[in-house]
Amino acid sequence: MTFEELLQIPPYSLAREEKHAILTERLTELTEHHRACCPEYRRMLESVGYDSKEVSGYEDLPFLPVRLFKELTLKSVPQEDVVKTMTSSGTTGQAVSRIYLDRTTSANQQRTMVKIVSDFLGASRLPMIILDCPSVVKDRNMFSARGAGILGFSIFGAKKIYALNDDMCLDVDGLREFLERFQGQDILLFGFTFMVWQHFYKELARLKEQGVTFDLSRGILIHGGGWKKLASEAVSPQEFHDRLQSVCGIDRVHDYYGMVEQTGCIYMQCECGHLHASVFSDVIMRRPRDFGICAVGEQGIIQVLSTIPESYPGHSLLTEDEGVLLGEDDCPCGRKGKYFKIDGRLKNAEIRGCSDTYAAKFA
């Protein structure tokens, strides 16, 4: 099945058997494609004795740890076909992932995301408030995960404003004007979880104490980027939701899980609070000890599979995140496919040894 055909399938419409067959075919083809086009990937497959004849389902395909994209240049197209290089938002001094996109893969990322997000927002574009500052998307040559996320989601917005100025202050007047203009309509809000909390929620809470309030009860917030930074402030997803609602009345809040290495195939949180895999991708929770497949309810390391990547060998990746598969095809929200939750990042190992580890000291 080509990706074109796959894209015609409604994102949460396939039950297990059917999805398994379609994904196995597409992902096995991608494995062969990258083996032929990416010499580094070929050597990896050969090192583990990969044989496509032994693959009975996509769970048998090799998976690459995401860190390899920080260490190596991995692409399956000639450099002249690369139209975008995406990088992960690593902190200063850390290596960043580099993901090389050609026209096809880049376009398919966007088309896939439209299919997935439209299932939650409906087909029409909405007035959109971006909970970030405009400067984050200015350098178009180097797409950071934050910038790419904002640009990616911007296609769902009709009229857009940035809620923050470049100094990360809330643009109170701009926000008020925008809300008055689109009163009575659904409004899309998008931002990174930590930014939303730090620069939007906290400011709204402060203003509320001064008697300044905003009504966002018609808002739909989509946010992602992880909870790591918020964990230090001990903010749980439930508290995040409740406190936002208490300051501005917003109730429709959707977290999503995604990564720069598999842009496009995001995992949206449904009304029941579960993250969902669409027909374009899947997750497999793996046991750390032997990478065996976890049962429902058992915590494991998250493997992510995406049918999109053609320009780089990133269709089957092992993340450094832990999560739990909650079920498949039977979420009360009605969407088919696997649904799961994320438990956070794997802990760094504590390793003995003669050589002092400076990095750990400054991390």
Partner: protein, 403 residues
């Protein structure tokens, strides 16, 4: 000197004298002085009587090493009759590695045995082993019989504080730096006095060479597995002495591998505490190795506790791709001189072997820049006063000419 002492405010004193300023005035002793040997023997007794210490084999091993039976043998080896007259150099300033619990005690002991007064920076982490040994040292130092040793022992803790490094280095007759390249670079920012000397333990790697036929002739394979485990997993295979690669010689290599790794894998299952990220790390390392040359083979493994990667060639970069916690490169060797380029790397430290040690002679005679120790499997961690290619007795003493 006075001025630099003002910068010692960041120090926590753990054991012994807190009067660092007085250290340079403490008379040096000849190596293996009776008072030192008696003191160490008393510490050994205290440790061996400590219930808590029994749970830590590294503490028990240390205690045995400092008993007078053991130190007397060292004395015979290093300062036997008829040798030159030696004296400790004066103040020895030791910077212990942050993640090996007992190493600081060995370093201190080397300093004491050679007649020096010692300032030791102990690991910042609260290892139970450190608490146990410090308790024994304090107890013995408080005894009237060993009061003399009090001014020769000062155990401290401080952060990565340049001012303290400056002050302590300025009074050091010998500076001993453990902790590898990064720590050495950091500590060397602090100058030594003109006659100050230094012993620096840099980042190293080690290898194991196993003769397949000798191994297959052995019946105590479970014991060999135990010994190899102690060389590797006991320190997360991350000590400078831990083999990162197993090199197979002999004829029945595949048969020996199957038996050796099978035994080890069973033991690792039973004893090793696995951390989830280690599996991801090893898979990453294995793929990086696979990309580095044609023909790399990740050997099938039952779990992520033991990962083996067969390499067809010993490339220059192979040791930059090493990993730890149960990640082994494997190489099939038919001529020991194939190892010459790898051992010519001055980071190459210990070769642990199973078989005939004489096979290494051509390798040494080839004039390689690496290889400081060739020891049987199971002995890589045995501390000695010859370490990392340095003979510590001569490094930490002055040789006095009396004609």
């Amino acid at each position: 000197m006075r001025q630099s002492l003002r910068d010692l405010s960041g120090i926590t004193y753990l054991v012994g004298s807190a009067d660092i300023a007085a250290m340079p005035c403490v008379p040096a002793l000849p190596p293996f002085d009776r008072r030192v040997l008696e003191f160490l023997n008393a510490v050994a007794k205290a440790l061996l009587a400590d219930r808590e210490a029994k749970a830590y084999p590294d503490v028990v091993t240390y205690a045995f090493w400092i008993r007078s039976a053991s130190t007397k043998k060292l004395k015979e080896r290093f300062c036997g009759e008829g040798g030159p007259f030696r004296l400790g150099r004066g103040v020895a300033f030791h910077i212990a590695p942050s993640n090996v619990p007992v190493n600081y005690a060995y370093s201190l002991t080397a300093g004491l045995l050679t007649g020096n007064a010692n300032i030791v920076r102990v690991p910042s982490k609260d290892f139970p082993q450190v608490t146990i040994i410090d308790r024994a040292l304090s107890g013995v130092l408080a005894m009237p019989d060993h009061g003399e040793m009090r001014k020769r022992v000062c155990l401290v803790r401080y952060g990565r504080d340049r001012a303290v490094n400056d002050a302590l280095s300025a009074m050091a007759d010998t500076r001993i730096i453990w902790g590898g390249d990064a720590t050495i670079a950091e500590v060397r920012k602090s100058p030594l006095p003109p006659r100050g000397a230094e012993v620096a333990f840099a980042d190293r790697f080690s290898l194991a060479v196993i003769d397949a036929d000798s191994y297959l002739a052995r019946e105590d394979r479970d014991r060999i597995a135990e010994q190899f485990y102690n060389d590797t997993y006991l320190t997360d295979q991350n000590a400078c002495t831990s083999p990162r690669m197993v090199i197979w010689t002999g004829r029945r290599k595949e048969e020996a591998k199957a038996a050796f790794w099978g035994e080890l894998s069973d033991l690792v299952q039973e004893k090793y505490t696995f951390q989830p990220i280690q599996g991801v790390n090893k898979l990453t390392s294995a793929y990086l190795a696979a990309v580095s040359q044609e023909g790399v083979r990740v050997e099938p493994h039952r779990d992520n506790l033991l990962v083996r990667v067969h390499v067809p060639a010993l490339t220059d970069e192979i040791m930059d791709l090493k990993d730890n916690s149960g990640y082994f490169f494997e190489y099939d060797c038919d001529d020991i001189l194939e190892l010459a380029p790898l051992c010519n790397d001055d980071r190459c430290q210990t070769i642990s072997y199973l078989g005939d040690k004489e096979i290494f002679r051509p390798l040494l005679e080839a004039g390689v820049r690496g290889i400081d120790r060739i020891v049987p499997v199971g002995s890589t961690m045995d501390f000695d006063l010859i370490w990392d290619g340095y003979e510590l007795v001569s490094r930490l003493t002055r040789t006095v000419v009396l004609e």
